[in-house]
């Protein structure tokens, strides 16, 4: 589904990603962990197409298409979804109107007609129940006045509504209390299927207690320096990132 080869990117001329390799297949969940500043969020932003990040080398292929050549909306319509670490508040844009427009665009891209108002509301209701997000969205602006937890849950609701092939969760667990974390994780678990995939970016291992990853990668200084199964996450939690750094230094010395 996603092949990343030697991906390099910089911000304001400063290199952040220094050659990332990653392959994600349908039905898989990958966790990317790493200390602050290792490039985790940069990777997510580059994949989503944020123009603040300059790709300086490497490739990224999504379903056989060159991801890096697509503007962000085409990536979204092709089925790539990013749950933002800090979802932006957009006053005046209603949640409903926004979701309706986004869904219609994505469906049109796949050759499907837009849903009728009734179908849309029906689907919204179902998905709200699925992700246990029952805040009233009617007459509210996009993310405006939402608590941190509500914003994250709204991201998961959008994920459910838009049914992407690949979802990237950028530190979705940050700032969530245990209940919200459980709800978000349940949502993701209900949405996982054999034809979709997830990349979960996180600093801590606690989200991974609820969403069991198939693979865990450690990103450090712009490179994936270690990959393994879910046990790697436990090991990291136990020994901390210093352990990785030390073993890394050891291997160079």
């Amino acid at each position: 589904m996603l092949q990343i080869k030697n991906l390099q990117a910089s911000v304001n001329g400063e290199p952040i990603l220094k050659g990332v390799d990653l392959e994600v297949k349908a039905g898989e969940i990958h966790a990317i962990m790493g200390p602050n500043g290792s490039g985790k969020s940069t990777l997510a932003s580059v994949l989503a197409g944020n123009e603040l990040y300059e790709v300086t080398g490497g490739e990224a292929w999504f379903e056989g298409k060159n991801l890096l050549e697509m503007p962000p909306e085409i990536r979204a319509r092709e089925g790539l979804f990013m749950a933002f670490q800090y979802p932006v508040e957009i006053p005046g844009v209603s949640n409903i109107n926004f979701l309706k427009t986004a869904l219609a665009e994505i469906r049109a891209h796949r050759g499907l007609p837009p849903l009728s108002a009734k179908e849309f509301m029906q689907r919204l209701k179902e998905k709200q129940e699925l992700v246990e997000f029952n805040a009233s969205l009617v007459n509210r602006s996009l993310n405006e006045g939402f608590s941190g937890g509500e914003k994250k849950r709204n991201e998961i609701l959008q994920l459910a509504m838009l049914e992407p092939k690949l979802a990237i969760l950028d530190e979705t667990d940050s700032g969530l209390d245990i209940d919200a974390l459980r709800i978000v994780a349940n949502g993701v678990n209900k949405l996982r299927a054999k034809d979709n995939a997830f990349i979960i970016i996180t600093h801590y291992q606690r989200l991974l207690q609820y969403i069991i990853p198939d693979y865990v990668h450690v990103l450090y200084d712009g490179r994936i320096i270690k990959s393994g199964t879910k046990e790697l996450a436990y090991e990291l939690e136990e020994k901390g990132y210093d352990w990785i750094k030390e073993s890394l230094q050891a291997s160079f010395s």
């Binding site: 197409g49 979204a76 665009e105």
Partner: protein
């Protein structure tokens, strides 16, 4: 450098005045009490001329350009196919009582019957009404306001709208303008609402000519106690129009006044003075505005909220969207006079520039002479939020759709103040029609 402009149009007006007055005396003689105002206003105009950018209130609005040609005084005999025009100008689904004016004169045949308790007087009837002597030129004082002086001196007659009873549907005043040459079209309304009346008025403006016209529309409004009045001013005039509007409103105790001011690309030059004087305690004035600039247009909104009595509230919010080579000017004054304690006065203005060549000048201004007050103003100039744009695009919206959505969201704060669904819909349509977002793709770093 002179603080005034004395150009050929000025010369023309000065030379024509005597003949104009003589003609007026023959056709529609003004009572002495009112004539006195007219003559004083003429003397003022003669002395002051048109304001130049040396005057603080005209700092960014240069009249030398729009007034470089001569706009002729109208003979008052223009005709037009109002039947067709009316159809095009009506607002869909608005059940309003239409009052049709051509060059400021009532066209009774095309107007709807007025609701009970509403009187629209013109000509001699208006001139000799008891409210005329009381309020004409005393609400909108020509001293110091050159364009009011100009109007007072040259308006051939004025209309008087007297509302004695609450209206069950909006009054839609449709201003049509026709002319076969470049014309100066002064127009004036005196509006008095009696105690406890609730009413809504829609003002729209329509050109039936491609000749250059200079519209000078002055409104004097007097709201007695416990009145609630909403005004929706919608300006979608076409190129070749220069529009000067001055609206002066006095509020008495416990009155509420909402003024919503919308303007769109078209008219080359728009200057609105929207003033509200809170003369009675516990009254409230709200001024909302949305201006969309396009082409070479200049849109200038000057507002005054004058708190003269204690316990009054005011809210003001103007938002501007500047495209192409347009220029936006916003000047909002809040006065809190001595003794006007327990005042709450808030003002906001936001503008976004969508083009390299667009310009905005904002001058919010507070002048406060009482201490127990809560006043604030906020002003921002910016552009579309790139972060929000990116977010919307990651959800599959095209850049154009995302821009459209964000602009509409920006406008929503003002659009949402319109209590009438059909009017709101009409304004939204105008907004969509006048936005050309494809030309507002961002600028490289």
């Amino acid at each position: 450098m002179s603080k005034s402009i004395f150009n050929s149009f000025y010369q023309y007006l000065i030379e024509q005045y005597e003949a104009f007055q003589a003609n007026l005396q023959g056709t529609l003689p003004w009572p002495d009490a009112l004539l006195k105002h007219k003559q004083q206003a003429f003397e003022l105009f003669k002395k002051q001329g048109f304001p130049s950018t040396k005057q603080e209130d005209w700092k960014y609005t240069n009249l030398a350009g729009p007034l470089q040609q001569i706009f002729h005084l109208s003979a008052g005999n223009e005709t037009a196919d109002l039947q067709t025009a009316l159809k095009a100008a009506s607002i869909k689904d608005v059940q309003a009582c239409r009052i049709v004016l051509l060059n400021g004169r009532l066209q009774r045949a095309y107007s709807d019957p007025l609701p009970e308790g509403v009187h629209f007087l013109e000509g001699a009837e208006a001139l000799h009404h008891y409210y005329a002597e009381e309020y004409f030129a005393s609400l909108a004082d020509p001293t110091g306001i050159p364009l009011v002086a100009l109007n007072t001196a040259f308006v051939p007659a004025f209309n008087l709208l007297h509302i004695q009873k609450t209206t069950d549907r909006p009054l839609h005043i449709m201003h049509f303008y026709a002319s076969h040459q470049a014309s100066f079209l002064p127009e004036r309304l005196l509006l008095v609402t009696e105690e406890q009346v609730q009413t809504q008025i829609i003002d729209t403006f329509h050109q039936l000519t491609t000749e250059p016209i200079l519209i000078n529309y002055v409104v004097e409004q007097y709201l007695k106690e416990q009145v609630a009045m909403d005004i929706f001013l919608i300006n979608a005039l076409q190129p070749n129009a220069t529009f000067f509007h001055h609206s002066e409103t006095y509020l008495h105790s416990q009155s509420t006044y909402h003024h919503l001011n919308f303007s769109f690309p078209g008219a080359d030059f728009i200057r609105n003075n929207i003033n509200a004087r809170l003369q009675g305690s516990a009254s409230e004035a709200n001024l909302w505005g949305l201006y969309v600039g396009g082409g070479h247009q200049l849109v200038d909104n000057h507002t005054i909220v004058d708190h003269q009595q204690p316990g009054c509230n005011s809210n003001e919010w103007y938002k501007g969207i500047l495209q192409d080579k347009s220029t936006g000017v916003f000047n909002g004054k809040i006065f809190v006079e001595k003794g006007a304690q327990k005042t709450n006065a808030f003002q906001k203005n936001n503008a976004i520039l969508l083009s390299r060549e667009a310009t905005v000048h904002a001058k919010p201004q507070l002048e406060i002479f009482a201490d127990d007050v809560k006043c604030s103003h906020g002003s921002t100039v910016g552009q579309m939020n790139e972060e929000a744009l990116f977010y919307l695009r990651t959800r599959g919206l095209s850049e154009l759709t995302a821009r459209q959505l964000l602009i509409e969201a920006f406008a929503f704060d003002i659009l949402s103040k319109i209590p009438h669904k059909a009017v709101a819909h009409h304004v939204m349509e105008l907004l969509r029609q006048h936005l050309h977002l494809e030309s507002s793709i961002p600028i490289d770093a």
